[in-house]
Symmetry: C2
Subunit: 299 residues, 2 copies
């Protein structure tokens, strides 16, 4: 079971096109302390020949260009990508589907809620139905997009995508709009939770015993975007649990028996992206790694 982190950043990436917060400024200025990061996507393989993409980021074309294993190997047209699984309808998780046009066969897995969000946007019809089979998945029901790779979606507390927000927005709901994934191969188990608004008891139970946890690392503190003057929204308002604080993710998930804990889907505002920052040290001392583009996890 091999997982390649294609993109470790949240929406916008690092640096974000219109941002000069202190972290983006370092990234634009090519300071060695801040790695550039593309948007949220994983590639998963068992045999090294066939891959499943988990989320399709707007940066997918660049991500494929950077990873020879994802490029076509023989014949005129082809791809090692056999399937794509989408965990919600955020732009950073679905826009890359537009890159996967050009009449290539693959399976597209998502909950009915996310498939309906795609269907509400006819631009995704560039994925012709005779090439791309849209396969609904259900919460807590396993499916096998590659032989030997068993995925099980489960509800993560969250909200609908930004572009779907309406006045009566509910945050922290558990349902089909935001899902996490359990990846199993034999006895190995990885949990991928890129967006999560609360560390519920059921989530903690699910996580316990995993070999690897990839968890929502959007922000370090709940108010960091507000404090930096970037936006008037807290992390929780955006559907993300911050890393730090008494009820943040590091504290809430401490003490669980997990092989490796890795923060992923990291927003450009998050000071852990500065490699010598106190927040980075705090996070590492709390037992967490910080994902980066090109990181590989092999079990």
């Amino acid at each position: 079971l091999r997982v390649i982190v294609l993109g470790s950043a949240a929406g916008g990436g690092v640096p974000q096109w219109n941002c000069r917060c202190r972290i983006c400024a370092l990234a634009w200025d090519k300071d060695a302390r801040v790695k550039r990061r593309t948007q949220s996507s994983l590639a998963v393989t068992i045999n090294g020949e066939e891959f499943v993409l988990i989320n399709a980021s707007p940066d997918l074309r660049e991500q494929i260009a950077g990873h020879a294993v994802l490029q076509p190997r023989s014949g005129l047209r082809g791809s090692p990508v056999r399937a794509c699984v989408v965990t919600n309808a955020d732009v950073d998780h679905i826009a890359g589907l537009l890159t996967l046009r050009e009449r290539q066969n693959f399976d597209l897995y998502a909950t009915q809620a996310t498939l309906s969000a795609l269907q509400a946007n006819p631009i995704f019809d560039v994925l012709a139905p005779e090439c791309v089979a849209r396969k609904p998945v259900r919460l807590d029901e396993a499916f096998e997009p590659l032989p030997g790779l068993v995925l099980t979606p489960f509800a993560a507390p969250g909200k609908v995508a930004l572009w779907q927000e309406r006045e009566n927005l509910e945050i922290g709901v558990e349902g089909e709009t935001t899902v996490a994934l359990e990846l199993r191969c034999g006895s190995k188990r990885i949990l991928y939770v890129p967006a999560c608004a609360a560390a519920t008891t059921s989530l903690r139970e699910k996580i316990a015993g995993a070999d690897v946890l990839l968890f929502d690392g959007t922000t370090f503190t709940d108010d960091e975007l507000i404090a930096a003057g970037l936006m008037q929204k807290s992390a929780r308002r955006m559907g993300h649990l911050p890393m730090s604080g008494r009820d943040g993710s590091a504290a809430s998930l401490a003490g669980l028996d997990v092989g490796r804990k890795i923060f992923i889907h990291i927003n450009n505002s998050n000071p852990v992206l500065i490699e010598d920052s106190p927040e980075r040290r705090w996070t590492e001392q709390a037992g967490w790694e910080i994902a980066y583009d090109g990181m590989e996890i092999v079990l």
Copy 2:
């Protein structure tokens, strides 16, 4: 008047994610004869400080990362991009609008037909109306997205975007679905025609006398995608006039008084992309240049 070619390729770019035609194979293998190219987009400026994007390609985040002049310079949030003009609703011309999210103010200009195509896809609501003003433009009516830069859209024979195709598809219609642009600054005049199904008399009259022509260079021959075994569609079926042949663009536009003639929006199947190919030599001998990413035109 300065034009930067951000992306010189047609949809899919070079190499295309799932293609190993002989040109993509050379590009994947990093052969020096084939430059890698991103998808169709221009940046235009008068003063070097403020820019208009013409078309927003799926590769826009990578394109901004490659051009310091398009990056934010001061303050917390900002961008030298003041406006974006979209010439049709093809994925390669609109998907990059999703990169321009994050509450940045700019003006979005397109015909009502193209604005309606965007409106039919709620995902583009990430461009909040209080930040991004959608401004309809009319055929043959000038507008000024930057002080001193006068743009006039005019109809180019074409068709609707692939994802909008229905059974009764008309090719070569002239209307609002596919437009070309005249760029004027003082007495300087550039014509940008990234998609064009026929070199009509009115188009030839428009082109005559231009300082620079940037013209649809999708394919070299009408049947090249079919002959290469890549697709069952001719160039004309896709709404593009091929470069070569008795009624191709090179022959049809020969003899017009134009300062520089440049092919742009070049598909990965087009052999002119191989720098020592006979087709490349033929095209250059016919008086045409081949656009590449990072090419600059200064008048």
